[in-house]
């Protein structure tokens, strides 16, 4: 089918053709900027149809439109923008797509590689007046500004019906509930600060039991170094250095310092001896990292654990995917530590779907069905097993989960250990400045005093 008759195709929106998106864009463009012109163009159809050539084409299109239109009333079409493109990720998202179609929806996949690229595409579509049905964001403040501008639909109906207030962990509720309304549907929970270790490497270094405190951790690092194994596998990229710093914040500083600094931006906490200790411990880790670390990707760092050439890595639970692909067994070849103290805070991050504003009742219905589907207990378990994360709700069957996920679920049952991810507590640009300070602290000889001052400036921004 040819695309040139954009106005014609616009009136029969339901046609499934490769040109549909392009046509629809034109139609929207006309209808938004010049409603009167659009009406004129519609009348123009008669004129268009007058041409023999166009007439046959129009008739063909109308026939298809009628045929599809008859069924289109039932299927709820949802275009979903997301950034899950790797092997395990796309397997996981097809679970969501299948479940949605089983419930009578029609999933149109729009995968864009790279989180920030996908998010800016979604935002550009929203601003341009041609939003997708749903878009994937991280559980953070990334979407709070578009909520404030009134550009998202709420899904309060679904949330109330399913009692989200009580079945979701508090930090997740705080991230998605704005002014008393739910604006996003969570799909998974990641704990970004797991400490992974290679059992083989620890064995070679003569370490009998995994460390449980910070002192034992440093003792283990020393033993690994003595055994000529890279003690700590780190990818020297901003976000990874930041994960390591956050791990020191939670394990050395604890829960109060974490929320005091990142949520309250409390000056007293920033200048406290506890925070100085966090900085000192972080800097103390430098000699345990190999010289080739800068620029290394996180999965290459994980591969060092898989090959037993490194001992530890601080990384989110998505690292499990790498171990699994290399046929490694939890508890045999590698293992996970949720923290280095009894009460180590459990950081909740993850992903959510947001639903751009639309007045179209069919689209709103599709959005609600989507929110309902992706949070359903059975879908949650199937999805998260493939994604490497844990379900967003407590009332699911944990028997199918691996040891680390089950451990995560268990810790999640204790609300006193739950804290939100740093990105949920501040604007993206503030968090960006904080990350800049961390990466400079790691890569230069910054003094503790200067670091404290720069953290203060970055947080107060």
């Amino acid at each position: 089918m040819h695309c040139r008759t954009s106005v014609v195709a616009g009136t029969i929106d339901k046609i499934k053709s490769p040109c549909l998106k392009w046509n629809r864009f034109h139609w929207r463009f006309w209808s938004i900027s010049r409603p009167s012109k659009f009406r004129a163009a519609k009348i123009d159809l008669v004129h268009w149809g007058g041409h023999m050539f166009h007439k046959t084409r129009l008739m063909a299109q109308t026939a298809i439109a009628l045929a599809i239109g008859a069924t289109a009333g039932h299927a709820q079409e949802a275009e979903v923008i997301h950034f899950w493109t790797s092997g395990g990720e796309s397997a996981a998202i097809s679970v969501l797509a299948d479940a949605f179609e089983e419930r009578g929806g029609e999933w149109t996949d729009n995968a864009i590689a790279g989180g920030s690229a996908a998010r800016s595409a979604a935002i550009n579509r929203i601003i341009g007046g041609d939003p997708s049905t749903a878009a994937l964001f991280n559980t953070s403040q990334q979407y709070h500004e578009i909520i404030a501008e009134g550009l998202l639909n709420d899904i309060d109906d679904v949330a109330t019906r399913n009692d989200w207030d009580n079945i979701l962990p508090a930090p997740i509720v705080d991230a998605i509930k704005v002014d008393g309304r739910y604006y996003a549907a969570p799909v998974n929970i990641h704990m970004p600060l797991w400490i992974w270790y290679s059992s083989g490497a620890l064995e070679q270094a003569g370490i009998e039991s995994p460390p449980e405190t910070m002192e034992e951790f440093f003792a283990a690092l020393d033993a690994l170094q003595a055994a000529d194994i890279t003690p700590l596998a780190l990818g020297g990229q901003r976000w990874q250095e930041n994960l390591l710093f956050s791990a020191m914040m939670t394990n050395v500083g604890g829960r109060d310092l974490w929320t005091g600094i990142y949520a309250d931006k409390d000056e007293e906490a920033i200048n406290s001896p506890e925070f100085r200790e966090v900085i000192e411990t972080f800097v103390r880790l430098k000699p345990y990292v190999d010289s080739a670390s800068p620029g290394r990707n996180w999965n290459d760092a994980t591969a060092m654990l898989i090959g037993d050439t490194a001992g530890f890595q601080v990384m989110g639970d998505w690292a499990k995917g790498e171990f699994t692909q290399a046929d490694q067994q939890i508890g045999v070849d590698y293992n996970c530590l949720p923290g280095l103290r009894e009460d180590a805070p459990y950081v909740l991050g993850g992903d959510v779907f947001v639903f751009p504003r639309t007045e179209d009742p069919a689209q709103i219905e599709a959005q609600n069905l989507l929110a309902e589907t992706i949070t359903a207990p059975d879908v949650q378990v199937a999805f998260n097993n493939l994604k490497g994360s844990i379900p967003i709700r407590f009332d699911v069957d944990v028997s199918a989960m691996d040891a680390c996920a089950a451990l995560g679920m268990e810790i999640m049952g204790d609300p006193s250990r739950l804290v939100p991810d740093a990105s949920q507590m501040m604007n993206e640009y503030v968090y960006g400045s904080v990350q800049d300070v961390v990466t400079e602290l790691w890569n230069t000889d910054m003094s503790v005093d200067e670091a404290v001052e720069r953290f203060g400036n970055a947080l107060q921004n």
């Binding site: 601003i127 500004e145 020297g236 620029g295 400079e440 890569n443």
Partner: protein
Amino acid sequence: MQTAQLTRHMRRNTAAYLALLPMAAIVVFAYLGTMAWSVRLSFTSSRMLPRNDFVGFDQYAQLFGTSRWLTSLENFVFIAIFFLAICFVLGTLLAIFIDQNVRAEGLFRTAFLYPYAMSFVVTGLMWQWILNPDLGIERTMRNLGFSDFVLDWVVNSDTVLYAVVLATVWHGAGLVMALLLAGLRGIDTDLWKATRIDGIPLWRAYAFIILPILRPMIITSLVLLSISIVKMYDLIIAMTNGGPGTASEVPAKFIMDNLFERANIGLATAASTTMLVTVLLIIAPVLYSQYLGKKGTTA
């Protein structure tokens, strides 16, 4: 007679102007318009979405209080100076060398120009691998038995910029060579004969006679090289991603990061406006000497 000529000229030009109208419209709306829009945004407090509340020079104050931006400006100047100087000298020497009627000239020409055919992404990745201590030269040398061999430019904050300059010179020197070689080939052989008769040493002939004649070629190559420095983003992403730490940040990367990752449109447009003004300040004298200056001498 003269008025008739003028009207004919006018009529002919009207058609030409009409034909140029679409292009003019594209220039005004798509190029100048978007530029003006960016400049306008840099005076607002826009974060994720464009806003209309004007805050004066707040974003600029914030920008120049950000150490990462200052670092990226310093790096920009460093890379620009070293890259331009080395690239130009090396490219000129290569052109002169090839111009001596060497054997297998075609092979040399292709070999030197070949890097320029590669994208910055490929160049960056390749040099990142070559210089990476885990994979590249350092590893190879150590495997050969030189266990103390160190070549860690790309992972060392103090030397990473040299590694970047190395990669860009490798990429760009061939272009200078090709342009200057074309110029050299256009030099009249009589000129060479004259210098020989006058007994002028070869280096002096090049420095004081030939290169001044090649001025347009030289300016063209310098302008092309400068443009590639200003828009340098992909090479940095592929090679160092701005690291270690912020040691190899460049302005273009700062702008992209703030625009897309950090949802900070105001700051990003302030940074890009700063770059625009800088480039205009540098390019203006070049344009002046190229076009207006010449007009002055011919008049």
